[in-house]
Subunit: 295 residues, 2 copies
Amino acid sequence: MSNQPRLAFIGLGIMGQAMAMRLVEADYRLIVYNRTRAKASPLLARGARAAATPAAAAAEADVVFICVTNTPDVKQVCTGPGGIIESARAGLVVVDHSTISPEATVALAADFAARGSVFLDAPVSGGDVGAQNGTLSIMVGGDGAAFERVEPVLRQMGQTITYCGPSGHGQLTKLVNQILVSVTNLAVCEALVFARKYGLNLEKTLAAVAGGAAGSWQLANLGPKMIEGDFRPGFTISLQQKDLHLVLEAAERTHTSLAATSLVHQFFSAAQAAGHGKDGTQALYTVVDKLSSPQ
Amino acid sequence: MSNQPRLAFIGLGIMGQAMAMRLVEADYRLIVYNRTRAKASPLLARGARAAATPAAAAAEADVVFICVTNTPDVKQVCTGPGGIIESARAGLVVVDHSTISPEATVALAADFAARGSVFLDAPVSGGDVGAQNGTLSIMVGGDGAAFERVEPVLRQMGQTITYCGPSGHGQLTKLVNQILVSVTNLAVCEALVFARKYGLNLEKTLAAVAGGAAGSWQLANLGPKMIEGDFRPGFTISLQQKDLHLVLEAAERTHTSLAATSLVHQFFSAAQAAGHGKDGTQALYTVVDKLSSPQ
């Protein structure tokens, strides 16, 4: 790999497109692939090239980044027809930014290792704003030497970049993140519903408690949105549910009993039933509120 | 009330003693009462005087502060034999820093109002360190004019001082604080047990997630203690249980369904059963860990 590796990016959704744009802006040579080809346009306008398949993109790249939604999507672009594995060779590094099953991750890493390539799991957190500003947290698992080689490229996209350990440990760390995010979200919902039922001034209540032992990112950022009934998505309930499904599946495999995480998962199901799937995770508030409402 | 009101302080436990000491150090004239008289010694050595009963202390004070443990204790020093109410008169302000029932608070405020006095609820958070450094959060409910008169004295003890509304709203805001603290604590426990079962490096995991949407005071402060198995108390499980009892009692009165808070209360009961009542609230970790352990 030269000092300026040739890059490929597979998956140009809201996150992937913003991340790929930062690579183009850093003057990396970039080839992109997306199922819906029109999404590549802004990148092509900045000098990126388009490939017809993931395999074609990987054939002309030293490092291939993936950012798609779920485990089956990653398997499809890796080992499906026209998948990256068809161009796998010694030295190729695949970096998967999707949040997917840790178990499937280990299997994919083995598939690529059999062809002399490396598959790193590197899920992110920080949302679309973090992707645009290059301030994502990136949690990386897999071959340590390959991590060191791609780290300079990751620095274009992320601020907190942690090497978590062997294959799958990046995904597991992301799942830890989702446990924290979800249960803390429920803490905020219960606190605000309790406060509202007693007629407390909610803004004053937030101000009184947010700076101390009760404080959290969720309280500071989602609390005011719950109070205002602003359910526009930063991160949607449907995506959070996908991640909590991965959490509970992984917990089941190790016989880990996660009562509160499981409860949040059920409450998010209720939110989805009420039509809040595409709302932000702060719409969890509506479920806790409805439980204690007259109708 | 002169610019330098005469003060009394009832209840010289760890919190009360540190708070009273800050008043003496600010050169307020102070008279103290404690059931166990020896606890007054450090304050008497700094110039405070001791009273034989709460009523005797209140007779020589413009503002009486209370810092005891629970609702019955506050009732005892207020309306029991030799209680403050025996010295109640126009202009007397009673400031209760204990965390007690909002309902009992409203009743006590009415008792004092009938004698021309004011009873403010002013529970605190911030622990013994906050009490020593004068950095407590103080959440005040009750008569607004009386609050303004005592606020300069409160500033000797607290940093974030919030007037929350009518009588009981200080206590209710404190209960909101305890919902947040407790459920966020459980979020940290489940995240770390999940991580440990998969053999993640726990310090790295914390570092990877603490700065983002998963971040909280509980994670930053209790997470490392859980990892180290350091269960020395900042705030004990027994005291947290007392407060969660108040939360769930208040929730029941308004038919507010708090599933996660209730779950934490049950898990803290399990911690108490295992002998962790006098440990810090981070010992909640042992319950979540034990649930998923072989023995």
